[in-house]
Amino acid sequence: MFLINCPFCGEREQSEFKAGGEAHIVRPKQPTELSDDQWAEYLFMRKNIKGIQFERWNHIHGCRKWFNMVRDTSNDEIKAVYKMGEKPPVK
Protein backbone atom coordinates (compact mmCIF):
# COMPACT_ATOMS: atom_id res chain seq x y z
CA MET A 1 0.00 0.00 0.00
CA PHE A 2 1.42 3.36 -0.97
CA LEU A 3 0.24 6.75 -2.16
CA ILE A 4 0.59 7.91 -5.74
CA ASN A 5 0.41 11.55 -6.71
CA CYS A 6 -1.84 11.65 -9.78
CA PRO A 7 -0.72 14.64 -11.89
CA PHE A 8 -4.39 15.56 -12.33
CA CYS A 9 -6.23 14.60 -9.11
CA GLY A 10 -3.54 14.77 -6.44
CA GLU A 11 -2.45 12.19 -3.91
CA ARG A 12 -4.47 8.97 -3.99
CA GLU A 13 -4.14 5.44 -2.69
CA GLN A 14 -2.42 2.88 -4.90
CA SER A 15 -5.55 0.74 -5.26
CA GLU A 16 -7.13 3.46 -7.43
CA PHE A 17 -4.38 2.92 -10.02
CA LYS A 18 -3.34 0.33 -12.56
CA ALA A 19 0.22 -0.21 -13.72
CA GLY A 20 0.68 -0.07 -17.48
CA GLY A 21 4.19 -1.38 -18.02
CA GLU A 22 7.40 0.23 -19.17
CA ALA A 23 7.23 3.79 -20.47
CA HIS A 24 8.91 5.52 -23.42
CA ILE A 25 8.83 2.55 -25.78
CA VAL A 26 8.68 3.99 -29.27
CA ARG A 27 6.68 2.19 -31.92
CA PRO A 28 8.87 1.48 -34.96
CA LYS A 29 8.15 3.88 -37.82
CA GLN A 30 8.03 1.15 -40.49
CA PRO A 31 6.78 -2.08 -38.85
CA THR A 32 6.68 -3.83 -42.25
CA GLU A 33 10.44 -3.48 -42.64
CA LEU A 34 11.19 -5.27 -39.38
CA SER A 35 12.08 -8.91 -39.00
CA ASP A 36 9.90 -11.04 -36.77
CA ASP A 37 12.61 -10.97 -34.12
CA GLN A 38 12.79 -7.18 -34.17
CA TRP A 39 9.02 -6.88 -34.00
CA ALA A 40 8.87 -9.33 -31.09
CA GLU A 41 11.59 -7.31 -29.37
CA TYR A 42 9.42 -4.19 -29.63
CA LEU A 43 6.21 -5.98 -28.71
CA PHE A 44 7.20 -8.23 -25.82
CA MET A 45 10.64 -7.55 -24.42
CA ARG A 46 10.74 -5.32 -21.34
CA LYS A 47 13.59 -4.31 -19.07
CA ASN A 48 12.03 -5.28 -15.72
CA ILE A 49 15.00 -4.03 -13.78
CA LYS A 50 15.61 -3.97 -10.05
CA GLY A 51 16.05 -0.29 -9.32
CA ILE A 52 14.91 2.89 -11.07
CA GLN A 53 12.27 2.09 -13.65
CA PHE A 54 10.21 4.33 -15.93
CA GLU A 55 6.61 3.20 -16.04
CA ARG A 56 3.18 4.09 -17.35
CA TRP A 57 0.32 4.18 -14.87
CA ASN A 58 -3.39 4.80 -15.23
CA HIS A 59 -5.62 6.42 -12.60
CA ILE A 60 -8.26 3.91 -13.52
CA HIS A 61 -10.68 4.45 -10.62
CA GLY A 62 -10.26 8.23 -10.74
CA CYS A 63 -9.74 10.53 -13.72
CA ARG A 64 -8.82 7.55 -15.97
CA LYS A 65 -5.82 9.46 -17.34
CA TRP A 66 -2.50 7.87 -18.22
CA PHE A 67 0.72 9.32 -16.85
CA ASN A 68 4.34 8.34 -16.30
CA MET A 69 6.11 7.44 -13.10
CA VAL A 70 9.71 6.92 -12.05
CA ARG A 71 9.75 4.18 -9.43
CA ASP A 72 12.46 2.29 -7.61
CA THR A 73 11.23 -1.26 -7.99
CA SER A 74 13.35 -2.50 -5.09
CA ASN A 75 11.54 -0.43 -2.45
CA ASP A 76 8.53 1.12 -4.27
CA GLU A 77 9.86 4.62 -3.70
CA ILE A 78 8.30 6.98 -6.26
CA LYS A 79 10.91 9.42 -7.56
CA ALA A 80 8.62 11.42 -9.82
CA VAL A 81 5.32 11.50 -11.69
CA TYR A 82 4.91 13.41 -14.95
CA LYS A 83 2.37 13.72 -17.73
CA MET A 84 2.35 11.80 -20.99
CA GLY A 85 4.55 13.45 -23.58
CA GLU A 86 6.74 15.14 -20.98
CA LYS A 87 10.42 14.38 -20.49
CA PRO A 88 11.32 12.45 -17.32
CA PRO A 89 12.29 14.94 -14.60
CA VAL A 90 14.98 12.59 -13.23
CA LYS A 91 17.54 10.33 -14.88
Binding site: F8, C9, E13, E16, C63
Partner: protein, 187 residues
Protein backbone atom coordinates in the same frame (compact mmCIF):
# COMPACT_ATOMS: atom_id res chain seq x y z
CA UNK B 1 -35.24 7.76 -20.40
CA UNK B 2 -35.17 4.03 -20.81
CA UNK B 3 -35.48 2.76 -17.32
CA UNK B 4 -38.27 3.85 -15.03
CA UNK B 5 -37.84 1.36 -12.24
CA UNK B 6 -36.20 2.23 -8.98
CA UNK B 7 -33.04 0.38 -8.14
CA UNK B 8 -33.43 1.29 -4.54
CA UNK B 9 -36.87 0.45 -3.29
CA UNK B 10 -36.94 2.08 0.10
CA UNK B 11 -35.34 5.06 1.77
CA UNK B 12 -33.11 3.89 4.59
CA UNK B 13 -32.44 5.61 7.86
CA UNK B 14 -29.84 5.01 10.56
CA UNK B 15 -28.67 7.19 13.46
CA UNK B 16 -26.87 10.07 11.73
CA UNK B 17 -27.44 8.71 8.23
CA UNK B 18 -30.30 8.78 5.72
CA UNK B 19 -29.96 7.28 2.25
CA UNK B 20 -32.33 7.48 -0.72
CA UNK B 21 -32.29 7.32 -4.48
CA UNK B 22 -33.08 10.57 -6.27
CA UNK B 23 -34.77 10.15 -9.64
CA UNK B 24 -35.38 11.04 -12.37
CA UNK B 25 -32.42 13.35 -12.67
CA UNK B 26 -30.84 14.20 -16.02
CA UNK B 27 -27.16 13.27 -16.15
CA UNK B 28 -24.82 14.09 -19.02
CA UNK B 29 -21.13 13.46 -19.53
CA UNK B 30 -19.45 16.10 -21.64
CA UNK B 31 -15.92 15.90 -22.97
CA UNK B 32 -13.72 18.42 -24.71
CA UNK B 33 -10.32 20.04 -24.55
CA UNK B 34 -10.38 23.24 -26.58
CA UNK B 35 -10.86 26.63 -25.03
CA UNK B 36 -13.78 27.23 -27.41
CA UNK B 37 -15.40 24.12 -25.95
CA UNK B 38 -15.32 25.60 -22.46
CA UNK B 39 -16.73 28.93 -23.59
CA UNK B 40 -19.41 27.29 -25.77
CA UNK B 41 -20.59 25.16 -22.82
CA UNK B 42 -20.49 28.20 -20.55
CA UNK B 43 -22.60 30.25 -22.96
CA UNK B 44 -25.05 27.43 -23.70
CA UNK B 45 -25.75 26.57 -20.09
CA UNK B 46 -25.00 29.86 -18.40
CA UNK B 47 -22.69 27.79 -16.21
CA UNK B 48 -18.90 27.86 -16.12
CA UNK B 49 -17.34 24.41 -16.04
CA UNK B 50 -14.98 24.01 -13.09
CA UNK B 51 -11.41 23.71 -14.36
CA UNK B 52 -9.83 23.15 -10.96
CA UNK B 53 -9.43 19.46 -10.12
CA UNK B 54 -11.94 17.86 -7.74
CA UNK B 55 -14.37 20.81 -7.72
CA UNK B 56 -17.86 21.61 -8.99
CA UNK B 57 -19.94 24.58 -10.11
CA UNK B 58 -23.65 25.23 -9.89
CA UNK B 59 -26.40 27.31 -11.46
CA UNK B 60 -30.08 27.40 -10.58
CA UNK B 61 -30.88 24.39 -12.76
CA UNK B 62 -27.61 22.51 -13.17
CA UNK B 63 -24.54 21.26 -11.35
CA UNK B 64 -21.26 20.49 -13.15
CA UNK B 65 -18.75 18.08 -11.61
CA UNK B 66 -15.06 17.96 -12.60
CA UNK B 67 -14.18 14.35 -13.44
CA UNK B 68 -10.92 14.73 -15.34
CA UNK B 69 -9.11 17.54 -17.21
CA UNK B 70 -11.38 17.02 -20.22
CA UNK B 71 -14.48 15.40 -18.72
CA UNK B 72 -17.39 16.70 -16.68
CA UNK B 73 -20.71 15.42 -15.46
CA UNK B 74 -23.70 17.74 -15.61
CA UNK B 75 -26.86 16.91 -13.73
CA UNK B 76 -30.15 18.64 -13.11
CA UNK B 77 -30.70 20.03 -9.62
CA UNK B 78 -34.44 19.44 -9.82
CA UNK B 79 -36.27 16.16 -10.27
CA UNK B 80 -37.70 15.82 -13.79
CA UNK B 81 -40.97 14.36 -15.00
CA UNK B 82 -40.59 10.60 -15.29
CA UNK B 83 -42.30 10.42 -18.70
CA UNK B 84 -39.95 12.96 -20.20
CA UNK B 85 -36.74 11.96 -21.93
CA UNK B 86 -36.05 14.95 -24.13
CA UNK B 87 -33.56 17.16 -22.44
CA UNK B 88 -33.34 20.71 -23.75
CA UNK B 89 -29.88 20.95 -22.24
CA UNK B 90 -28.69 17.93 -24.20
CA UNK B 91 -30.23 19.27 -27.42
CA UNK B 92 -28.58 22.62 -26.90
CA UNK B 93 -25.19 21.03 -26.21
CA UNK B 94 -25.56 18.73 -29.20
CA UNK B 95 -26.11 21.78 -31.36
CA UNK B 96 -23.35 23.93 -29.87
CA UNK B 97 -20.74 21.28 -28.99
CA UNK B 98 -21.17 18.15 -31.10
CA UNK B 99 -22.27 19.71 -34.39
CA UNK B 100 -19.39 22.17 -34.16
CA UNK B 101 -16.82 19.43 -33.40
CA UNK B 102 -15.80 20.99 -30.12
CA UNK B 103 -16.52 17.98 -27.94
CA UNK B 104 -18.84 15.11 -27.06
CA UNK B 105 -22.09 14.86 -25.13
CA UNK B 106 -23.36 11.55 -23.74
CA UNK B 107 -26.64 10.98 -21.95
CA UNK B 108 -25.85 8.86 -18.88
CA UNK B 109 -29.17 9.42 -17.11
CA UNK B 110 -29.89 5.71 -16.99
CA UNK B 111 -26.31 4.62 -16.64
CA UNK B 112 -25.78 6.26 -13.27
CA UNK B 113 -27.91 5.96 -10.17
CA UNK B 114 -27.90 8.94 -7.83
CA UNK B 115 -28.00 8.12 -4.14
CA UNK B 116 -28.29 11.04 -1.75
CA UNK B 117 -26.88 10.69 1.75
CA UNK B 118 -27.61 12.98 4.64
CA UNK B 119 -26.32 13.09 8.21
CA UNK B 120 -23.12 13.34 10.17
CA UNK B 121 -22.19 9.68 9.71
CA UNK B 122 -21.78 9.76 5.90
CA UNK B 123 -18.00 9.74 5.92
CA UNK B 124 -17.82 7.21 8.72
CA UNK B 125 -19.69 4.93 6.33
CA UNK B 126 -17.36 5.73 3.40
CA UNK B 127 -14.29 5.16 5.53
CA UNK B 128 -15.32 1.56 6.13
CA UNK B 129 -14.80 0.73 2.46
CA UNK B 130 -12.87 3.42 0.58
CA UNK B 131 -9.14 4.18 0.33
CA UNK B 132 -9.85 7.90 -0.23
CA UNK B 133 -8.81 10.36 2.49
CA UNK B 134 -12.03 12.23 3.30
CA UNK B 135 -10.54 14.35 6.13
CA UNK B 136 -10.26 17.62 4.18
CA UNK B 137 -12.96 16.69 1.70
CA UNK B 138 -15.85 16.49 4.16
CA UNK B 139 -15.57 20.07 5.41
CA UNK B 140 -15.37 21.71 1.96
CA UNK B 141 -18.68 22.26 0.22
CA UNK B 142 -18.66 21.53 -3.52
CA UNK B 143 -15.71 19.14 -3.67
CA UNK B 144 -15.92 16.14 -5.99
CA UNK B 145 -13.94 12.94 -6.22
CA UNK B 146 -13.99 9.70 -8.13
CA UNK B 147 -12.83 6.79 -6.03
CA UNK B 148 -13.82 3.29 -5.02
CA UNK B 149 -16.18 2.11 -2.32
CA UNK B 150 -16.06 -1.60 -1.56
CA UNK B 151 -14.22 -2.02 -4.90
CA UNK B 152 -17.00 -0.26 -6.85
CA UNK B 153 -16.27 2.93 -8.82
CA UNK B 154 -18.21 5.88 -7.44
CA UNK B 155 -18.41 9.64 -7.92
CA UNK B 156 -18.84 11.55 -4.66
CA UNK B 157 -20.14 15.13 -4.65
CA UNK B 158 -20.01 17.02 -1.35
CA UNK B 159 -23.14 19.04 -2.09
CA UNK B 160 -23.36 20.62 1.33
CA UNK B 161 -22.16 19.88 4.83
CA UNK B 162 -23.62 16.47 5.79
CA UNK B 163 -25.33 16.26 2.38
CA UNK B 164 -23.58 14.11 -0.23
CA UNK B 165 -24.50 12.90 -3.71
CA UNK B 166 -23.12 9.53 -4.73
CA UNK B 167 -23.21 8.36 -8.37
CA UNK B 168 -22.75 4.68 -9.13
CA UNK B 169 -23.19 2.63 -12.29
CA UNK B 170 -26.63 1.12 -12.39
CA UNK B 171 -25.48 -2.50 -12.56
CA UNK B 172 -23.48 -2.05 -9.34
CA UNK B 173 -26.05 0.04 -7.49
CA UNK B 174 -28.13 -2.74 -5.98
CA UNK B 175 -25.09 -4.49 -4.55
CA UNK B 176 -23.51 -1.23 -3.37
CA UNK B 177 -26.70 -0.12 -1.66
CA UNK B 178 -27.09 -3.39 0.21
CA UNK B 179 -23.41 -3.21 1.24
CA UNK B 180 -23.94 0.38 2.44
CA UNK B 181 -26.94 -0.71 4.49
CA UNK B 182 -25.03 -3.57 5.99
CA UNK B 183 -22.11 -1.32 6.84
CA UNK B 184 -24.34 1.47 8.15
CA UNK B 185 -26.08 -0.92 10.52
CA UNK B 186 -22.71 -1.58 12.21
CA UNK B 187 -21.48 2.02 12.54
Amino acid sequence: MLNYSNVIENDKSYPGLQMREIKPVMKLIIRGKKRQFLSAVGKSLNLLLPNEANTSSRSDQLTALWLSPDEWMIFSNEILKSDYNNYDVEKLLNKNICKTNLGAVTDVTDQFVLINLKGDKIFDLFETGSPFNFNDFKSKKGLVTQTILTKIDIIVHNQDINDVNLFVRRSFSDHLFSWMNDSASRL
